[in-house]
Symmetry: D2
Subunit: 356 residues, 4 copies
C-alpha cells in the first residue's frame, strides 16, 4: 500500500507540506448519491483549526476546504473526491536554525536518514498540518456512516492530570478549549499549560475516541481486525506513541472473570454487562460502543535548549521559538475522531462486500 | 488487503482452523538465494509450542513444519514459500456446551453476528493456534533481516506483578517458562498463576519486544509509519488490546524536555541519549532499538461460570473446562517477536524499493 | 500486491512448483454459508487435467483436490479456503539438458536473470501446472456468481485454422477434445496437430471466453475497469500474449457508426442491438455477455533443435523431448473460464461494497 | 486496490471530471533527490494536448501543470507529488441532449446503471481528459527510469490503413500530426479522416508502444507478470479494447520453432535473434525491447444519428455535435507511452525491493 494512503475500500490519499502552496487529499470509494458539500466538511476542520485558543498554535489559517471533484449537483457520484486547502500563513521566515540542525523529538533526523533531503520549512510533510486532511476525509466518512453512528472524542489527561470519570459529561467537551468531558479539571489543565509554557516546555495528553451505534459484525478475523485497523489509524497520527482498545493496558491486571464481558438479553437483543472489549471481540464489532484511547507525546518544539547535532555531525544546541501548541494532544481530538470514522466507513464497505 | 494476509512486499497469508486437518501459510516476496530449511523455522515454533510447561495448554502438538514450495536445493527461489503444520491433537470431544453458547470474551458471538456460521471446534479460525504460522513466517523474516538485527521479547508483567527493570537480564528469558528477564519475579508469577487457576480464572500480561541493529531510515511518513505497522501487527495478535512504542502511555506525563531524545556524536555516529521514541521518529527508524510493548488480556476460557446467552437468545451460564493457558500472554512472546520480524522485513524491502 | 495473489476482495494466492511435493492456493474473501465441497471443484480440474487425449501432455496426475480450511459442515465460513493438490507424477528423470541451458521461449533465462536461481525441474514455478489452482479457485468463484451467471470457453483457432462462427454450437465444445464449438473444424485441427508433432514443432491457438447473465453495473471507471481486470487476468495465464474484449482489434477497422452498439427497449429492459463492446462500456458491465479472447503462443517445448546459450554464456542447441502439449492453448480453455469467473466474483463483491 | 489508483510502489491516483474546476493526480512512492520541475512534465502534456491539429478535438486547454507538493528546491523529497491542471474551456453549453439520453458506445448507460447518478457534462469522469494526468504521471515515471530507458509510441493503423513496417522511421513520428512512423501513409490517413468526418462518423486505430533499454529481470511470475501489468495499463486507457505483447495475436499462426526467440552471444552478452516475446518471457523482461500494441475503438461521439434510449427507457435517437476527435486513437500515443513508463517505473522499484 502506498505510504500516503489509508483504507482499503474507503481510501484516503493525502498530500502536501506545511509551507507548500496547499494541502489536499483524494477520497476514493465513496458510495454514490450521498449529499455532500463543503459545508459538511468545514465544521470539522474548524474544530481542529489553529489559532482558536491560547493553548494552540497561533498560526492563522482559515482552513477553507474546496471540493474539486466527485460531487455533482450536491451529491457524491462514486468517483474520487478531491479536497484542497490553500496554505495561507506559511511565513517566509528565517529557517536557518532548523535547516541544518536536527530538533530532538522531531522527524528531522530520520527524514534525512531516509531520503537525504527534506523540506525543513515548518516540518514539511511531517507537520501536523497534514492532519487537516484527515479531518476533512473523516467528515466524508461520517456521511457514509450516517446519523446512526456517533463518533466523539475527549481529552482525558493532560500531563499528570486525568479527568474524573465520575464527572464525565460529553456535553462539556464543547464548552471548553480542551475537549474535556470534566469541567472541574479545566482550570487544572490551564494552570499546567501556563506553567509548562513559562518553563519553555510542553505536555503530553491522552485522548479517548468512541463510536456509538456501530452494528455488530464489522471487521474480520486475523489481520483485518477492527482493533488492528484502529491501532494503525491512531498510532499513525503525528506524535501518537500508544493506543488501547476497551480496557486496554488495564486488562493486564484484571482476572479472566473480571475481564470477559458477560451477556444478557434486553428487549430481545443481546446486552453486554460491561465493555472491557471496547466493542470488539475476535476483531469483530459486538454492537457495543467502540472505544479507543491514544497517547500524544508532549510537543517537541520547545523553547528549552536541547543538545543535538547538525546535518554535518557537529554537536550543538537547538531551541524552538515560535507559535507551537504547548500540548499538541488537544488538537488531536478531531483527528482521532476522523480516523475512527474513516476506519469504520472502510469496515462498513468491506463487510457489505463479503456478507452482503 | 485481504483479511488473512499481512505485509505489503514481505507478505504472509495464513489459513487453517484449530481442529481442521492442518494450518498453513504462504510467504511471498522473499528475496532469492537465502539459505532456508525447516530447521531454520522449527526452533521458533518449539518456543511457542503448547504443552511445554504447567502454565500453558496441555494440548499435544509437535508443530512439525514442512516447506512445500519456494525453496530449491536449500535456498529460497523468490517464489512463494508454502509452510504447513498438521493438526495432531484435535480432540474429537463433545462440543455441545460451546456449539450453541457464546463464551464471554470470545469471538463466538461476533463470528455468528458476522458470518451466521462458525467452526466452533476449539475456536476455529479464532484459535491462538493460528499464531503458529506467524511464528513460522517470522523465522523466514528473520532470515531476511540477517544476523545484524536481533529481535527478542520478554514478559514484563503478569497480573499486577511487573518485573523490576533494574534486574533486567535478557539471558534470563531463556531460563524460565515465562520468558521473564527478571529471575526474582518468577516465583511470584508462579504463585499468582497457581492461585488464578485454583480460583478458576486467569491472568493478563504485558510483553515487550525489541529489535536491535535496525538501520536508520526504515519506514515512511504519514500512513506507512513504523509505529503504525507495529501497532497493527501487535494488536492483531489474539487477545491483545493495547500497544505502545518507546515511552508509550508514560509520555503523557513527561514534559517536552524530558521526552525528546537528545543527540550527541559518538565514534562519528549520532548517538541518542535516551530512547523515549522507541527507535522511531516521524514514523521512520532512528537506528536505536525499536521497542514495542503490548498487553494480552486474561484468557477468556475459564472454569468460573459466566452469564451469557445462546445462539437462540436464551440466557444461560457457561464455564470452560479443558486444557487452556492460565495466562495466554506467556506464549505470546514468540508471536510478538515474529510480528516484529515480519514488520521489519517488509519495511526493509519497501525502503530498498524507494531509496535503493 | 503480492506477485502470487490475484483479486482484491475475492483473493487467490497460489503456490507450488511443477515437481515439488504439492501445489495449492488460498482463496480469501469468500462470502459465508455457500455450500462447497471437493465435488464442486473436481469436475473443473478434470476438464483441465493432463493425459486426457492424444493432444495434451501425457503426464499422469489425478489432480485430486483437498479442502483444508474455510469450510465447515459443507458450507463456507468466511475464513480462508486452503486447497491443495499433491504432485504425483513428478518424474525423477535426468534434468541435465535443461538445468544449465536456456530453452528458447521459456522462462529459464529470465528467472535466472531475476533471481540467480531457479527450480528447473519441469519448469518449476513457471510450469503450466500452476494453472490447476486457478481452475480450482475459479470453481469457488463460480459458486459465488451462482447459477445466474454462465461462464464458458471455446478454442476458436488452432494455428491458421479458425472456426466458422456460423457453425458455432456451444454444445459441441464438450464433444471433442479441443473445446471446439465447430464440429467441422475438428478433423482439420487433428491433422494440423499431427503434422506439427511429426515436424517436431507446435501450434498456437486463440480462445474465447464469455460470461452470460452478468448484471449491468459491475466494474469501475479509470483503473478498475472490467476490461483491464480481464486483460490482466487473461494475459497472466502462461503463454498468453494478447487479449481483446468484444470487437477487440477488429474495432480498428470499424467506423464509429458501425462500432457503437445501438440500444432499444425489449420487454421493458434495455437491449443492445450488437455487442461490439463485449459487455463493457467505460469499464462497467452493460448487462450483455462479457466476451474476451486471448491468444496462446505455440508450446515452447519442441523436439526441433534450437540455438541457445548456457548459464555460462556458451552457445549451444537444445531440443526438448518428453510429454508436452503440441498446442498448450487447448488446455487453456478451463483456465480462461476460471480467470473470468475469478474476475467477476471479485467485481461482484467490490460493486456490492460501494453500491450496496 | 482503489479504482482510481494505478501501480503498487510507484502509485498514481487521479481525480477530476471533464467540466469540473480542475483535474489532478497524486504520484506516490517516487524515490528522493530526483530533479523535477513543471518543465519536465509540460512537454509530454503538450504532445497530448487538444487543439493541436485539425484531426483532434478543438477544445482549447493550455493544460498547464502545477506541482503542489513533493518537490523541494528542484528535487523530489520522497513524499507524494500532487499535480494539478485547471480546466479552462469547460463550455457552459446546453447539455440537454445528453443529460437524459445514453450515447451508444459511451459510458452514459453504465455509469447510471452502477451509480444512479452521473456528471454528464463532457463525459464527466469518463472523459479522455483524465488521460492528461496519466501523461503527467508518466513524465515523472520517465525521470525514475532515467535516460537509459527510451519509451516511444506510434500510430500503426488508422481505420483499415496500416503503416508499411519496411518504411518505419521513428524520427517521422514527430513530423506529422498522427505520430506515424511511415511518412507515406500520412496522406492516406488524412483522406480517410476527412472522409469519415464528412460522413459524420469516426475511425479506430492501433498504437504501438515500445521501451528500449529495459534491463533483464524486471517483473515477476504468475500474477505479477510484465505482460499482465502492461495489459491492464493499456486496456485501462479510454476506448482501448485489446492489447498484445510482442508477436501477440499473430503468435496463433506461428509454429513453435518460428515463435521461440533463439539466443546467441554478442559482445559477451546474450542476444535474442528475434523478439516475438516482446521482451517478456515468463512474465519477466529479457533485456530486449518491451513491445506492446493496443487498439482504440472509433470515437463514439459522432454526428450520425444513432438509435438509443433515455434514462426513462424511452426509445429515441442521438447524434453528437461538437469538437470531438475523429480518431481518438491519435492522441492515445502519449497516453500509451505514459502508461508504459508508469508500469516500468513500478516494476523497477518492485524488482529492487525483492532482488536488491
Amino acid at each position: 500500500m502506498s505510504s500516503n494512503s489509508f483504507g482499503l475500500l474507503f481510501r484516503v490519499t493525502t498530500w502536501g507540506e506545511s509551507h507548500g502552496p496547499a494541502i489536499g487529499c483524494v477520497v476514493d470509494g465513496v458510495p454514490p448519491r450521498i449529499p455532500l458539500a463543503e459545508a459538511d466538511i468545514q465544521p470539522a476542520l474548524d474544530r481542529r483549526r489553529p489559532g482558536t485558543s491560547r493553548f494552540v498554535t497561533q498560526r492563522r489559517e482559515s482552513d477553507t476546504v474546496r471540493i474539486l471533484s466527485g460531487v455533482f449537483e450536491g451529491q457524491t457520484t462514486g468517483t474520487p473526491i478531491a479536497l484542497v486547502i490553500e496554505n495561507e500563513d506559511a511565513r517566509s521566515r528565517d529557517y536557518g536554525p532548523i535547516k541544518d540542525t536536527y530538533r530532538p523529538g522531531h522527524a528531522d533526523f530520520t527524514y534525512d536518514a531516509k531520503y537525504g533531503i527534506r523540506d525543513y520549512r515548518g516540518g514539511g510533510r511531517a507537520s501536523a498540518r497534514e492532519t487537516a486532511m484527515r479531518v476533512a476525509a473523516g467528515a466524508v466518512a461520517q456521511k457514509i456512516l450516517g446519523d446512526g453512528v456517533t463518533v466523539r472524542g475527549a481529552v482525558i489527561q493532560v500531563g499528570g492530570h486525568a479527568v474524573d470519570r465520575k464527572r464525565w459529561d460529553w456535553a462539556e467537551t464543547t464548552q471548553n478549549p480542551f475537549f474535556s468531558p470534566d469541567a472541574a479539571i479545566v482550570p487544572v489543565w490551564e494552570d499546567a499549560l501556563y506553567a509548562a509554557r513559562k518553563a519553555g516546555t510542553s505536555l503530553g495528553a491522552i485522548i479517548q475516541v468512541e463510536a456509538d451505534g456501530v452494528p455488530a459484525g464489522l471487521g474480520a478475523p486475523v489481520y483485518g481486525k477492527v482493533d488492528a485497523d484502529l491501532a494503525a489509524a491512531m498510532v499513525g497520527i503525528n506524535a501518537v506513541k500508544g493506543v488501547e482498545i476497551g480496557a486496554g493496558f488495564a486488562a493486564a491486571t484484571l482476572s479472566g472473570d473480571e475481564n470477559g464481558d458477560e451477556i444478557r438479553m434486553a428487549g430481545g437483543q443481546p446486552r453486554f454487562l460491561t465493555n472491557n472489549a471496547g466493542g470488539v471481540l475476535g476483531g469483530i464489532t459486538t454492537g457495543q460502543p467502540v472505544v479507543a484511547r491514544f497517547v500524544v507525546k508532549p510537543t517537541s518544539s520547545i523553547r528549552t535548549p536541547r543538545r543535538t547535532i547538525t546535518r554535518d555531525g557537529a554537536e550543538t544546541e537547538v531551541s524552538t521559538e515560535g507559535r507551537h501548541d504547548p500540548c499538541v494532544g488537544i488538537r488531536a481530538v478531531p483527528v482521532g475522531e476522523a480516523m475512527m470514522a474513516c476506519v469504520l466507513a472502510d469496515l462498513l464497505l468491506r463487510h457489505r462486500a463479503q456478507c452482503g
